[in-house]
Subunit: 145 residues, 2 copies
């Protein structure tokens, strides 16, 4: 687990190293994801920014550009939750998979070392060099049953 200031510093480092510019907007987007409980869509992030700090405006295009950039430099990760489109989470979190309630939308994160090991195994057997994986279990949660 990495602290949030460390991630922001990392962003500054990457931006400088690439000869790019450090902007408030990229920091805001990253900060929101660091402090977010769950997984956010581009639109949700956009709305959060607009409602929280009404003095500074931000364009939805900038949110998308920031998200692509942050994912490219591996500070955040996107996951495609069914039809709902892409959602993002910051990489400050440990790796984990998702249990999703199809009724209320509740998401429980979990991690199973044995599954991870077996996934690597499957990949090896098929001569794939794994870069990432995505695993979601869909069902009905405790309270919704």
């Amino acid at each position: 687990m990495i602290s949030s200031t460390e991630v922001i510093d990392e962003l500054k480092r990457i931006v400088k190293q690439k000869g790019l510019k450090y902007t408030e907007q990229r920091e805001i987007v990253l900060n929101i994801l660091i402090n977010a409980e769950g997984h956010l869509s581009a639109e949700e992030i956009y709305n959060l920014i607009k409602s929280k700090k009404r003095e500074s405006s931000i364009g939805i295009a900038t949110v998308y550009r920031a998200l692509s950039f942050l994912e490219e430099v591996n500070l955040i990760t996107s996951i495609a939750f069914g039809a709902d489109g892409k959602k993002y989470e910051s990489n400050t979190k440990e790796h984990h998979d998702h249990l999703i309630c199809t009724n209320c939308g509740k998401i429980v994160e979990f991690m199973d070392n044995e599954i991870e090991k077996r996934q690597d195994n499957v990949a090896k057997k098929n001569n794939f060099k794994i870069t990432s994986h995505s695993m979601q279990l869909y069902g009905v949660c405790d309270t919704c049953q």
Copy 2:
């Protein structure tokens, strides 16, 4: 594994039972998915129909409507492959997961009983009643490395 005529009969049964109408279009879409090797998008199915039988026309909207319907009654399943949008496969196939090459798009299907077992376990521990799951391993395949 279920035979393709059985699936078509199943479709006829469901349609009748729901008091709906049996149309050639729904049958065509289902048939394409039954006979398809891999996973097809709505657009790919649409193009297949247009090229194969140029006498009968079909609208893209009808393809989408047929796909939603068939998924709803559980004759086909959709999977969201990253940014490429939804793809469909018929439920005649055994359950399996996917290994996806991020370079050439090649998809390898696999099945691991131990992983399945562990998934059920995780669900039980969290009091979820699992309805389905989706698992994709992303990486670079043999020939692309």
